[in-house]
Amino acid sequence: MRKILLLSVGAAGLLAASGGAVAADIKPLAETCNNCHGVDGVSAGHSMPSIAGLPVKYLTEVMIEWKKGERFSTTMGRLIKGYSDEQITDLAKHYAALPWKPVPQDLKAKWIKEGSFIVDRCSKCHGDTGAEPDDDETPRLDGQWAKYMELQLMAYRDKDVKLPHEKMRKTALKLSEEEVGYLNHYFASAPKATGKKKEEKKEEKKEAKTEEKK
């Protein structure tokens, strides 16, 4: 009886840990994702996004859009058509439950600084540091690969590329080439919140420019 109790507590603990809704057999499927998206969804490749810890709704939506052919992709559309909507939902839940881990990467300090001055272009939806998206449909960006974000912005800035998020496209098109680089490096650096107001930032930017002229 004691043994049974131990077993059942273990099993219940497992169900609790997985949110009680992730299908039992999703882990082996999720492990096939590691090939491209890194072990447990933390990418080791500049051009590939980390997917662990992203919002479940965001993950589900992009996969469903790929499956329906509503969203441009290179390979994901061809892969995801092989799986049921239920499997897609379970994959999203699986990855959303894993911890978000900012990836260390080589970044330009000057670009990070420049990015911090213009973060208001993105902050309304992604938050000031990229860590606090305003809703569950928006991915966090703090510590995501700069290269991946550069490529995504390249796609958003190409009007022939089918991407359903019009607001993101409009914002992306307003940026200059330099600004794209600055913002990618800023978010990739996993910045901490400074608590500074817009006015203070403006002042800081002015100072930085004066410093540069000297």
């Binding site: 497992l14 039992a24 057999d25 882990k27 082996p28 491209c36 072990v39 590939m48 991946y148 590329v161």
Partner: protein, 432 residues
């Protein structure tokens, strides 16, 4: 916490077979403590199997036996030939796996005794196993081409096992005069990396175009009548290297049967082609140890059980990677790729850990993604998804396929970038 009474517990038990070793809580395990898995071969398949078995159940002793201390990735090695990548970027050791608790034995397995469940090595060791993973890659059958041998390969490289061979071919390309003929001889399939020879042709043409050898030509002499991503390659060749690459199929006397190493001449049944550089890729079969252990079929490849990757010829032995033959045959075989080897290895790892713990094996998932670089900023790909129904492979037709022929230019650029990202992740996933 939810109270679990006897009735609930029975429900949980009933659900248990649906679960698997991967989801069985650690407290319920332990059955595999003291059991040993031996993995033969430290390529993408073998390394992944070793790592995932240890990850799924740290109580199992895992020994990886591999003769080389450094592994060189075949994927992306064509970029070394064209000078866009150094060979160092393709290398990895086994230290990280060692730190994960995998025992690394630098040795060569010379014998498998399935009855005694043991392997013997060149170094004189005998290791007993409870489960064995065989991942030796392909054997190059030099003898199938008259005039070719392993010794001759120092002059007439195959460059189909990355490392020194890759560098020999690179040097020969660099030394080739402008206007020189670069011949790639492709064996009858199946062979590892199905698009490899055609990507190589593009990389060689790219090098020639940008290094003062634009009058040179690449001639592909093929023992087959079609090839992987054919339409996409032909489109890319024509767009980037017009007139520089010619493909001769088997039906037009493309099959090389003999070579003269001294004059670098490749002989087909009816003709001969004198090359400035001769790159001869010999016919292939499963690694020698797989054949010696009786794991191969009449064609020289290892058949496996779809639900688990266990050898169809021998219980207690799992075969992963280029040595095995699987997929929905004959139309949709498993391609011999690193990505495929890794998904196979993960299926095998799950099945082995389940078997050693006496529980049901997890549902198997097989998929492939394979990028080819026509140029540094021009990538194309193929995707395959397989499922297992009633222990039979089914190629999922709703999914998969090659990059579209009418793709936007940005897609070619992105796929080249993703090839690099894919590579870094498979290296980290298998060896990290």
């Amino acid at each position: 916490m939810t109270t679990i009474n006897r009735r609930n517990f029975v429900k949980l038990l009933a659900a248990a077979p649906l679960a698997s070793v991967l989801t069985v809580p650690t407290t319920a395990r332990g059955a595999a403590a003291g059991k040993r898995v031996v993995v033969i071969g430290g390529g993408f398949g073998g390394a992944t199997a070793a790592k995932y078995i240890k990850r799924m159940d740290p109580k199992i002793t895992v020994t990886l036996i591999e003769p080389n201390k450094t592994y060189v990735s075949c994927p992306l090695s064509n970029e070394v030939i064209s000078g866009h990548r150094t060979i160092e970027t393709l290398q990895t050791g086994y230290d990280a796996l060692g730190k994960r608790g995998v025992e690394i034995l630098n040795d060569l397995v010379t014998g498998i005794d399935p009855a005694k469940k043991s392997v013997t090595t060149k170094g004189g060791k005998t290791l007993n196993y409870d489960a064995l993973v065989v991942a030796p890659g392909v054997e190059l059958n030099y003898g199938a081409i008259e005039g070719y041998s392993e010794a001759v390969a120092a002059e007439i490289p195959h460059a189909y096992k990355a490392g020194e061979q890759t560098l020999i071919l690179k040097k020969q390309l660099e030394a080739m005069p402008d206007g020189g003929l670069f011949v790639i001889a492709v064996p009858k399939g199946p062979f590892r990396c199905p698009p490899g020879p055609y990507e190589r042709a593009a990389q060689v043409a790219h090098y020639c175009k940008n290094n003062g050898k634009a009058k040179s030509k690449v001639l592909i002499l093929d023992a087959n009548d079609t090839f992987a991503k054919k339409a996409l390659f032909e489109q890319g060749w024509a767009a980037l290297y017009p007139g520089m690459i010619e493909w001769v199929p088997a039906s037009k006397d493309g099959k090389v049967v003999k070579i003269d190493p001294k004059t670098k001449t490749a002989f087909t049944e009816l003709g001969d082609h004198k090359a400035a550089v001769l790159n001869l890729i010999p016919p292939q079969s499963a690694g020698a140890i797989a054949k010696a252990a009786g794991l191969t079929n009449a064609n020289g490849w290892c058949e496996i059980v779809p639900s688990s990757m266990e050898s169809a010829a021998q219980k207690g032995i799992w075969v992963v990677g280029d040595s095995c033959v699987g997929g929905e045959l004959p139309t949709y075989p498993f391609p011999k790729s690193a990505h495929m080897a890794m998904t196979q290895a993960k299926v095998a790892a799950g099945a082995i850990v389940a078997s050693l713990n006496g529980v049901a094996a997890p549902v198997p998932y097989y998929a492939n993604t394979c990028y080819s670089l026509v140029a540094p900023d021009y990538g194309i790909s193929v995707v395959q998804v397989y499922r297992v129904d009633d222990n039979k492979f089914v190629y999922v037709k709703e999914a998969g396929g090659v990059s579209p022929a009418d793709a936007l230019p940005i897609q070619r650029k992105l796929e080249a970038e993703y090839a690099d990202g894919w590579f870094r992740n498979v290296m980290a996933d298998a060896f990290g």
